[in-house]
Assembly symmetry: C2
Homo-oligomer: 514 residues x 2
């Protein structure tokens, strides 16, 4: 049962004066029945105060207690799976395979943090005994606001990577549900608050607030007791929250992953050899999830001195018969249509190949034209990609140098292309969080070695990631204890090493007691 | 020989139109002879462009090459030691012991980064082979601007922790010399550029620019090719640079350590037992370096329900006969005198004990008054401390809860005070980067376990430190390589592990080849 209410400190609060909104089935464009209440200023303040009051207790919980919480959330997700999936599908119109896949990914993400907590070394305990006794470890930064992402109702939303990494760190979380899938979000919030009750943790460590207006998010980010923000979405949304957070009396860290055009470079010999296979693979990647992945390849740069290979046309031919699910909301579709219309109207490209069966579109343009029109580097969120045709190595290097920060860059070449690859790589290393040398950038493995983030404007701080267990470092800061009596030390730093952690003691890693 | 010119890409550039300024001997208040040229807008642009152009090469140097650079800087510092120390003393009037101590600390800091590079594990190489081949390591973020600090002409200036950590990371550095010790800074810059030439590294990796106006720093921080900023100094200076960096088209990380009042809490039984010894220790700590350390204890909170112990008076009695060197510049002294005058004029305190032999001053005020006057939490930079007298545990807890972020907090108690200690500690953990349980906060060990930084306003990002080898993480970001051919991988990630690094391979640490 979805209530449409806001969850504050364990209670689903009714507010008869609240502004209300509904979610929409993107397939039928019909509104779904539940009326969701927008959180009021008072409710926001209550939720943040509860989070702040619960922080000291939650921040000092043992790793085992946090594992129990995460496991309880996993169990709850499984118990309510059919209801969650049904609402997810109604609100997103994404196919069953995607829904189940994303559900499982969310469970797996939680599992990776359970393993991280069981292992414990992320806390980076280090001890120095040869001077003043100085012991350092990571400590959580405080209450975090997490914004649900429009394009991932589960994996980047209520119990997604931001919330779970913050819980693992020991930070209370307030989720601002995405209005496109408020029902899915509430169901997951029900699971989380039940898990918190089961674990006898303070109810203030999780609140769930709704709202269609930007006001709710703005008030949350501006609240003096909030200490960090996690966001995945558009550049305009992420940048607005970032700016708001920097204007506070106390600026706070905001990790906003704001997408990118994820350029793919295809070098001359690779293009000649694998043109048809590449066209197939790219068609799949561009249209995957109706182009609504942050790692969707929006730019394909090819080196074709002969000028004879029309890769854009080939990709579009591989798309022709595809039927794509609708985008997750008609607003996103409208924005996509508008951007394509501008490209057409202003005659910015050399060619534009539209599918007849879906809205997927592939453009092509000569590098010389592309390099003179910065607007062509803007993300077109959806199943669109632009093929840029370079006629020389110099042109491809010039184009690479002109790029802004990206989540991913893909560099496809044969061994015979390696001279160019090396030059390109030295440029591209400074531009992306992840560099691929095979395949396509869609599909993000949720493992410690993943990097999801990149130089601005792909994210607001390239030193962090929002995917993989290293994402926990967004919410941790080092605290050093000098000459602290053993019984006042956190367990991770006690002489007897009760957590059996690998610790750096006088420069050497070991798990021994002192 | 000090030229007074700006160093850009290996050349000391003369500009006959430059604004000029001189440094001053704070003891005599006489100007020293050299005329320093303020860097022009063109010179700033040249220096930044040279840094940016040298970045790809320098960022890809081996750890050994960077070790050679740091060792060459150490050697150069030793060769020019007498000239550096003489200029340091003339420009700062700090005593010989301090000058030599700070010189040695600077050498030791460089040594700690040499060890870090020799060991190599800071790069955090991790490899995952059980899916897409995904390998991750830290990569430098790009050219950094370092601001010399007024109070540490060597250890927090030209070849200080910010510059050396950035070099170790592989980042080019542009130093904005502090105008109070432009000569010391130039001599060290001469050492650095000679070392760079000796190592055959690109000359653009280091420039040294002077200026008395804020304009030079502002232009540097605003330059689009600058990717990070290191600053130690006042709140107003650090916050202004931070805000400037956030307003850029591309916001960049600024680590500004902006000082704090470093509260010391003395609990009831500790105060009763060690009152006289504490007064002696505190007198030393408050006046050390004429109170110009970031960790100077500006606030001493005592729990004295009997109301019979006048700790402020006792501390001031221990100071009476001290003779302190002048502050590093008359401007700092003027600001200090002005703040004290305001405290007196507005009758903000219960008592104010001034030394007759020096400008050290100890104030005292009841907690009830302190809690109602936020202005009393502002730092008075210099040999001043305020004793706040609490009459109950509740009052001391209330005061602790009201504190802003601090570099350090010291908690002094007997075993019999431990019930209060525990309660206090849970509050204080969220407020400081370093918590001491013995001694005084002045004196910062330069080791990996040190944390120098703290929640805002002590620093602009509590997740980093500016002292100790972990300060390198301010200038590094993770880059992941997916399915990268072995010969295109950085050495740290190659199959054969040529650097013999400890790497995380499929979740386990080892130094084996793949």
């Amino acid at each position: 049962m979805i209530s449409g209410k806001n969850l504050i400190e364990g209670k689903w609060e009714h507010n008869s004066n609240a502004e209300q909104f509904q979610t929409v089935n993107p397939k039928t464009n019909e509104s779904l029945s539940v009326a969701y209440q927008q959180a009021s200023t008072d409710q926001i303040d209550l939720a943040v105060n509860a989070a702040s009051e619960s922080f000291d207790f939650f921040g000092s919980t043992t790793f085992n207690e946090r594992v129990f919480l995460l496991e309880s959330i996993q169990e709850g997700m499984h118990s309510y799976k059919s209801e969650i999936i049904a609402t997810y599908r109604a609100e997103s119109a994404l196919p069953d395979g995607r829904a189940n896949g994303e559900f499982q990914r969310t469970i797996d993400q939680i599992q990776s943090f359970i393993q991280l907590l069981n292992e414990g070394s992320f806390i980076a305990a280090s001890i120095y005994t040869k001077g003043p006794d100085l012991r350092k470890m990571f400590y959580p930064i405080g209450p975090i606001v997490v914004f649900g992402a429009s394009n991932f109702p589960l994996a980047f939303s209520t119990a997604g990577g931001d919330t779970i990494s913050a819980f693992a760190a020991g930070c209370p979380v307030i989720v601002k549900a995405h209005p496109y899938h408020a029902g899915t979000s509430e169901l997951v919030a029900q699971v989380i608050i039940k898990a918190i009750k089961k674990c006898n943790l303070p109810l203030g460590i999780f609140s769930h607030l709704g709202g269609k207006s930007h006001g709710v998010g703005s008030l949350l980010v501006s609240h003096p007791l909030i200490k960090g923000v996690g966001f995945t979405g558009s550049f305009s949304g992420g940048k607005a929250l970032y700016d708001l957070a920097q204007k506070r009396n106390e600026p706070i860290p905001v990790f906003a992953e704001m997408g990118s055009i994820n350029p793919i470079f295809i070098l001359e010999n690779k293009l000649k050899k694998d043109c048809s296979v590449l066209a197939e693979d790219l068609a799949q990647s561009v249209t995957l999830g109706t182009g609504q992945f942050c790692t969707n390849p929006g730019l394909i740069v090819i080196c074709d001195p002969s000028g004879t290979i029309n890769l854009a046309k080939k990709i579009s031919e591989s798309i022709t018969d595809l039927e794509l699910p609708p985008m997750v909301h008609s607003n996103i579709q409208k924005q996509y249509d508008k951007q394509l219309a501008t490209l057409k109207r202003k005659d910015k490209l050399d060619a534009l190949y539209s599918s007849e069966s879906c809205s997927a579109t592939i453009g092509s343009v000569k590098a010389s034209k592309f390099l003179n029109d910065h607007s062509l580097t803007e993300e077109v969120f959806g199943p669109f990609s632009l093929v840029v045709e370079c006629s020389s190595t110099d042109e491809i290097l010039k184009l690479a140098a002109s790029l802004e920060g990206q989540l991913t860059i893909t560099l496809l070449g044969e061994t015979s292309d390696q001279q160019v690859s090396k030059k390109l790589l030295s440029l591209l290393k400074t531009k992306a969080g992840r560099i691929l040398f095979h395949g396509v950038p869609t599909g993000v493995a949720v493992i410690q070695t993943m990097q999801h983030g990149g130089p601005y404007p792909a994210s607001t701080d390239s030193r962090f990631t929002s995917v993989g267990t290293d994402s926990i470092y967004r919410w941790l800061r080092p605290v050093a204890f000098q000459d602290c009596p053993n019984d006042l030390l956190p367990d991770a730093l006690k002489n007897e090493n009760p957590l059996k952690l690998e610790r750096k003691v006088d420069g050497k890693m070991n798990s021994a007691a002192l």
